[in-house]
Subunit: 476 residues, 2 copies
């Protein structure tokens, strides 16, 4: 193992960069702003995909696939949309050895090509709702790329649904936000706050944007998923109408929602520590790692035999298990490596343990150890992993609570905002004030939480009345 | 239901186009040569992906993700590779509002960017073998696109492995060809012939290319998967060396292998008939469809109740089941629709059947019907589907055998080749003869089958000696 990781308190961004690279999640590509997702990082993404895909299907969605190239003219049909995405587009001007008549852009998101298609798919109320999701790569030319957090190309899913009524599309928007919140909390073990984005921060082309916001290890916020109520904006831009049961022609109502490989970066920063990654068992490519401990060949034989049996028993019990039987490394080296890689539970099997019929379990998230009878490990492993999953969520929730502050004056806010944390403040609801806060402090309004209690107050900047507190924080 | 499908014997290409569109597999996109894969078509691809991904993992491979954009200069590092792919490239010249210093191409395949990366990942023999697969979209600017068969953008998987020795890379090449053959035969129910491609037909940059070739309904061949032994070509082009256990520096040995959404087109043409698709149970998004039959409301209530119970029982038994309880359509209409969509087994539930405690099963691949006791359906369904899977394979194998001919004279070959079929002929092994055959007949050497018996003969064109017969056929 190379030198120790930079500690989080010394240089958090550098810690992040080092963890992502040393834990072999991803690396920079020779293509500006792009990344190569390495097998271990992709393994986490595959776990995420599998869970999310199941959740989408359970809520009635099906998958489809639309082209990666979009005619440039399509983007221009929705005014706010093109304004939002124009600066970030990558453009194909030549193909098949010729200049194209009309340039194509690589999709930054697929509303335009999908709504152009929906025009042909939707005629009657019987065709609605249309509940479609796509797993795809998208491209947004980022000026300051960072592995997983902002890359020119990223992988994501984008749901695009069409509905007969405003009520239905609104319900869908909130349903999918709730799906994202359940995923974040129950699988990523990452507590999130659901809420509405301000007018200034909403998606280009949406009527309303909702987000889940999570707190990272340095107290900054990360937007972990968004769900957009698109109203009839795209239906009007692409002329998508349906005939109602009463025979009336109406524009269709739309939603879109997405999460991306950014979530892998969120996972790193939500739980990681100075030893490296800390993965939640439900998404860890390796949930349990078995490390054999022996001094000589005499000890090795029975220890490795016991380890192999244990590996099989754990796999049969449904746990993603790896036996690290590399002979060229010492146990201490292996401990460090699997800690760096965030494996939730390490199982140490040594000759003295075996004599006693025991093994030692070490939990990554708490550093705690526990001794279990060897023969009980397989039957206990799913409970042990559940325990680790819950423990990790509780720990993250506690950290967030400790760094969430009610602040009532702008002076106090400015003094404290650089220390990180979620600041629950009164805001007058105007874009002007929001912009002032951002320009003066680089913090932004993350969202207006659904569960913020009604509480009469005064905007900390202007003193104007406010009905509830919003989250303000620096963010990724 | 609209008018009848064009029959295969009247116009096979038109039949194909109609089936793909009417069965809602895919449609043409507003982007030249691209397609939109609709939910039913994508559902088939998802089944394929899930099975293949499991097979790759069972043979020790892991997934990763490399950038969709490749610096143009990378392509030029392997001479044959750039020559093969240049005419088909789509080029990004502008991004983020600026002209790029070096253009990027959208990957037509990823050997170059992956081998550029492997240079950093491989130092020692301990880093080998490297067994990586990627699921991705790729782009090849096709002049004559056809849904699934040839589209500018398509979805695929591409395996890229690195090995210490020529023997190992050769073994890997053949292992993955065998995986493809198992997938084609055991899941797609499509018999294939494994063999080596001729020098002229091999992949641009490969030492040897192997393929599986399947026969379509019109007797033409379709290359359903390829596996390439790349030798040290890419290692040399990208300077990828490793230190052997003996301390010697050596170039790494490589393979690559891929299958694509083309397989969905193959599935359509391997089994489809004048009523539409015929899907193998193992890949069908819907394996069993229940169609209730009733004349009036009195009959409807008990019939629908029995159908719902049956649906649940079939799902619990592990079958992907759909209950078609739409009230606006008559049973005959539904029969046609599900036949068009190729659902392997239809279960008809009517009042008279129920009185007798029976249901009727109709098999899509044979048109046969079978009566089963209602209470036996759930416990029998997996056997019934297995039976249909095997029946479909046998049928396809029989069709292929009937249309496989040994032909010994070029005159006979020219006379018969337009009727379709696999022609097993002697060939002198030269590219000149191969080119002559192609120019004069539009047929190509599909591959040199592994299992072709040694048989001394004379090339049907030149009379030169030949040691075994090869498959010659028109192809997609």
């Amino acid at each position: 193992m190379a030198a120790k990781l930079t500690s989080q308190s010394d240089d958090y961004p550098r810690w992040y960069q080092e963890v992502v690279q040393r834990a072999e999640l991803a690396e920079n590509a020779p293509v500006r702003g792009s990344m190569i997702i390495k097998p271990y990082g992709y393994g986490i993404w595959e776990q995420m995909q599998s869970v999310l895909d199941g959740m989408f299907k359970d809520t009635g969605h099906v998958n489809a696939y639309f082209p990666v190239l979009i005619p440039e003219s399509f983007l221009k049909k929705e005014a706010e949309h093109v304004e939002g995405f124009s600066p970030e587009l990558a453009v194909v001007t030549h193909a098949g050895g010729k200049k194209l008549e009309e340039p194509y852009v690589i999709r930054p998101t697929s509303e335009t090509i999908i709504w152009d298609t929906y025009r042909n798919w939707i005629q009657s109320y019987r065709d609605l709702p249309l509940l479609i999701n796509q797993w795809a790569n998208v491209m947004r030319w980022e000026m300051r790329p960072r592995l997983f957090l902002r890359t020119t190309e990223f992988l994501w899913q984008e749901g695009h649904t069409a509905h007969a009524t405003q009520e239905e599309s609104h319900e869908e928007t909130l349903r999918m936000l709730e799906v994202y919140a359940r995923f974040a909390e129950d699988y990523m073990a990452m507590p999130v706050i659901q809420g509405e984005k301000s007018e200034r921060e909403k998606f280009a082309g949406a009527v309303k944007t909702y987000s889940i916001e999570a707190m990272m290890g340095d107290g900054k916020a990360l937007q972990a998923g968004t769900s957009h109520d698109l109203g009839q904006n795209f239906a009007k831009a692409f002329d998508v109408k349906y005939q109602s049961a009463e025979g009336k022609e109406e524009y269709v109502w739309a939603t879109s929602w997405g999460v991306s490989t950014r979530l892998v970066g969120a996972l790193v920063m939500a739980h990681g520590d100075d030893q490296g990654l800390v993965l939640p068992p439900k998404l860890a490519p390796i949930q349990t790692v078995i490390v054999p401990i022996y001094r000589d060949d005499d000890q090795m034989v029975p220890v490795l035999e016991a380890c192999s049996k244990l590996e099989k028993a754990l796999k049969d019990a449904g746990s993603r298990t790896h036996l690290d039987n590399r002979d060229q490394y010492r146990p201490g080296y292996k401990f460090n490596e699997w800690e760096l890689k965030g494996v939730p539970v390490r199982i140490e099997v040594g000759p003295r343990d075996l004599e006693k019929g025991e093994v030692v379990l070490a939990f990554r998230h708490s550093g705690e150890k526990k001794t279990l009878p060897l023969e009980a490990v397989a039957s206990e492993v799913m409970n042990v992993l559940d325990e680790a999953q819950k423990g990790l969520f509780e720990k993250a929730l506690k950290k967030r609570e400790e760094r969430t502050f009610k602040v009532d004056t702008y002076d106090e806010f400015k003094e404290r905002v650089n220390d990180g944390g979620f600041f629950m403040c009164h805001w007058d609801g105007t874009s002007a004030t929001e912009e002032k806060i951002q320009q003066e402090t680089k913090a932004t309004i993350r969202n207006i939480p659904f569960d913020a209690p009604e509480e009469t107050g005064k905007c900390m900047v202007t003193g104007q009345p406010s009905a509830r507190r919003v989250i303000i924080s620096k963010a990724y």
